[in-house]
Symmetry: C2
């Protein structure tokens, strides 16, 4: 028996061994402060936070959370729009080993209540404009402390509240506690196809690798020029948080934070700053092009225009390439479970493979699997599957979903497609019954369940149909029961009452019958068109 | 007590859970094969190995090693120059979870015997031109099997031998065994200052992060053009193996392998290939400039000219920038213990901070520590210290060195310097008694011990002195005893007999006395000049 080859650290205290070797995303802030120092990390309206200040604030807030009793492994939920306090709290939690639970503030209160309960969050950080949502969501959960950016009431729901600023401890020296590579850093909820949303548990090592692989795929580099990027997509989603924000901070960029999408404000960024990078949804790019302010801007500084989730209409792509002559426009795709970018188009494929997903990023292997769980050859269509150290640890409280997602030894992303001879992934269909709309995932079944609860609806099918604005538009095909006078407006009002706004069908089509297989299963592929 | 937030993978078999999530450097080859396919990975004289072939061969050799009885954690030593079989064997071991022990073939046989024994290597892979060295080194060690590239005798030393090709199993399908993030991938020996060489244990996660951070610092990207790089530095050192080879393969480059440095052959690469990247020692760059063949080459394709270990003379740098007008010439520095690049100059600092070490790479924090183990402010000189997940796990069989290297909670690199206001590291002196010469580390004490063993030597001090060719030249100051007629040539011959060639002093100065402190300690700083 060979002696196992392990380093003997018996003379080193546990904390030193951890601090010197570990992967902890909180350390990225410390590293950045040394190299980027007084360069601006975040600009949020009038507030400018340098890399050095970000590090100082993150340590102070980490200490403030610890003073509240938050420990390694405890959950801190964020109901926040994009603002600098989000980033500070995120890094503070990362340094403390606390788990961040970013909440989608476009959801219904009851949905947030579920996520607060399911994750076991003990602290909620929110902001004044979202107080009504937070108030409705937090009641009856395990949350025992709410911190509010902006004017804070004494309680939120039935929970004691205080200003977010009170988390900033006087001591901003480096917070040094044990955090391991595979500790969970964040839990993001993703829509299930048939069940409740699932908490996706993502480790520090997955997030660190995701930031590096995205930076490499975007061609980001710290050493040539200072780079500036508006951040429009919400940080409560993994794309904005891990692929965009963190890859940008790793490479010393200045990030301009936007709350929601205001195309005039994005255009103004081009007037006020040398914007070099920008990632948005295709429809947002279209809206940006319409802005008169863009005419006064230097649009020649943009080197990378990325778009997420769905191919871009060819005429829009052509218009963008004309307007931003130095920029490559490339599609990035991925999902919460893969932290997140799995594929990124190559600059060298522009104009020839614009409708593809591009090849896998450096840390990710993409393959295509047949129905017998064997990997297929190039050109053969099947399930797109992944292996990558960026993969989530697994779903929370859901061993069945974990087993199902890894069937056959690979992670199933829920998409159908093939690999071409250049290793480029081409998406052809979806195997999971989801609609990807405006950067959000919507479960068809959830929307169908609400429609079927209306007494007038006999049958229905919800699919995503290609849409220039939304990527896919949630579209419902409804067969009404006999003797009903219900209208589409009535059905839409019913949906609005029971569903978050982004889940409400953009179109409701009343039809006589739904296309079905011989065995009576609805043929959704015909409806997706 | 909050329920720990861990994914429940009870429904997933252990191998699937490992393969889908882990960091294993062997997987990088699989990923590369999907994306880069038939692109050439390695060109070694007439042999061309595509990314697809590299993956196939690595699996076959991993299986061949397994058939020999090599298991996860077992050690496979390589006494090889740069050749494609080195890279294949490296990835084969990585896939199998075996630990690679690359041997410096410029060392004396007894030094290799020590490394084979100390690491517990059971298999040695070598090549026909190095048989005499391998034969002398392997006797009496635990090596039970030798594989030889080229004509193989029946035994090497007293150990059964066979051709390297016999390791290539017929089955080249994917080798799937459990390998963990923090399993050791390689053990490289580094000169100690006063003791025997120390085995540096480096994990898969450190090597993976090192490859990504180096690729990011070099500005490598897969997606713009195909990139070509001659690899001149020996892969038995960490710089060539992890910072250059692996960062190149991660980004789909074509690597042109050189055995030893022949400036004419490197110049010929520029004639035959669109060379885009090249890392060499400063003196090698100087020799390349003298090559007539360069006149027939397109030197305008080179975008990155990196040099390692020592600043470049200003006139040489100017000549290079004139000859390669598109290239940034940047210094990278690091060490075996940090896998390896810790600092890399910025393109934007060219011409202004050419004599610096540049800022830390994205995965690394550099600080400067005072004598009381407190971190110092910008501009204050002290020990340069590191925290990084690229750090080695530790030294093998050496808890004392591990404790010493991490004193005060940071890894001590053995260098003195300071950080400037831009986060740039400036090296000023060495705290460890080492000479860094031609890409090798030489222990002053080892050379002094050999000199003192000569009956004519009364006192001596060995230091590195600045040298255009070697970075530092090993330089001995010797006080001869009374009544001796020994000459410098005699002393040099004595050193040659007992030391590896690169350790033999380039200059031996006979002096009447050595500069000393009041307490009698030799003042080496005066001798370094």
């Amino acid at each position: 028996m060979t002696e196992p080859m392990r380093a003997d650290l018996s003379g080193v205290d546990e904390l030193t061994a951890n601090l010197t070797h570990r992967v902890c995303v909180g350390d990225q802030s410390s590293r950045n402060a040394v190299v980027y120092g007084d360069r601006m990390a975040l600009i949020d309206g009038p507030t400018r936070i340098s890399y050095r200040e970000l590090e100082s604030l993150a340590n102070a807030v980490g200490r403030g959370l610890r003073d509240l009793g938050v420990q390694r492994g405890d959950r801190v939920a964020l109901a926040l729009q994009n603002r600098w306090e989000f980033v500070v709290t995120f890094f503070g939690c990362a340094k403390l080993g606390a788990i961040v639970v970013p909440l989608n503030v476009a959801l219904m209160p009851a949905e947030l209540t579920f996520q607060l309960d399911d994750s076991g969050a003990s602290v909620l950080v929110t902001e004044q404009p979202l107080l009504a949502l937070a108030e409705a969501a937090v009641r009856g959960t395990g949350v025992r402390d709410v911190r509010v950016v902006g004017a804070a009431p004494a309680t939120v729901g039935d929970v004691p509240a205080a200003p977010w600023e009170s988390l900033i401890a006087v001591d901003d020296s480096r917070l040094e506690v044990i955090v391991e590579d595979r500790d969970v850093l964040h839990c993001l909820y993703t829509s299930g196809t048939t069940s409740a949303p699932k908490g996706v548990l993502t480790s520090h090592v997955a997030v660190q690798l995701g930031a590096l692989s995205s930076a490499l795929a975007f061609g980001l580099r710290a050493d040539v020029d200072e780079s500036v990027m508006p951040l429009v997509l919400p940080m409560f989603h993994v794309t904005a948080l891990d692929a965009i924000l963190l890859s940008s901070l790793v490479t010393g960029m200045t990030v301009l934070l936007h709350r929601g999408f205001d195309p005039a404000a994005v255009a103004q960024n081009f007037v006020d700053h040398p914007v070099t990078h920008l990632t948005m949804l295709p429809a947002m790019w279209g809206a940006l092009l319409q802005q008169p302010a863009l005419g006064q801007a230097d649009t020649g500084r943009l080197v990378s225009g990325c778009y997420a989730m769905a191919p871009m209409p060819a005429d829009l792509l052509a218009a963008l390439r004309a307007r931003f002559p130095q920029a490559a426009f490339i599609l990035g795709s991925g999902q919460t479970e893969t932290t997140p970018a799995s594929q990124m188009q190559w600059v060298g494929h522009q104009g020839t493979k614009d409708d593809s997903w591009g090849p896998a990023v450096a840390t990710t292997e993409v393959q295509v699997m047949g129905p017998d769980a064997r990997l297929l050859e190039r050109g053969q269509e099947g399930e797109i599957v992944y292996r990558t150290p960026q993969l989530m640890d697994g779903y929370w409280h859901n061993p069945e979903a974990n087993a199902e997602s890894l069937a056959g030894g690979w992670f199933h992303g829920g998409d159908i497609g093939y690999l071409d001879e250049d290793g480029v992934v081409w998406f052809t269909d979806r195997s999971k019954d989801m609609v990807k709309t405006g950067g959000e995932n919507v479960s068809s079944v959830e929307v169908e369940r609400i429609l079927l609860a209306h007494e007038a609806v006999a049958e229905c099918a919800v699919v995503g149909r290609p849409d220039e604005r939304w990527g896919e538009a949630v579209t419902a095909y409804v067969v009404l029961g006999a003797d009903t006078t219900a209208t589409r407006d009535e059905l839409r009002a019913h949906c609005r009452e029971h569903l978050a706004g982004f889940k409400v069908p953009k179109t409701i089509e009343l039809v006589d019958a739904l296309p079905k297989t011989a065995t009576g299963k609805i043929r959704k592929v015909e409806l997706r068109g």
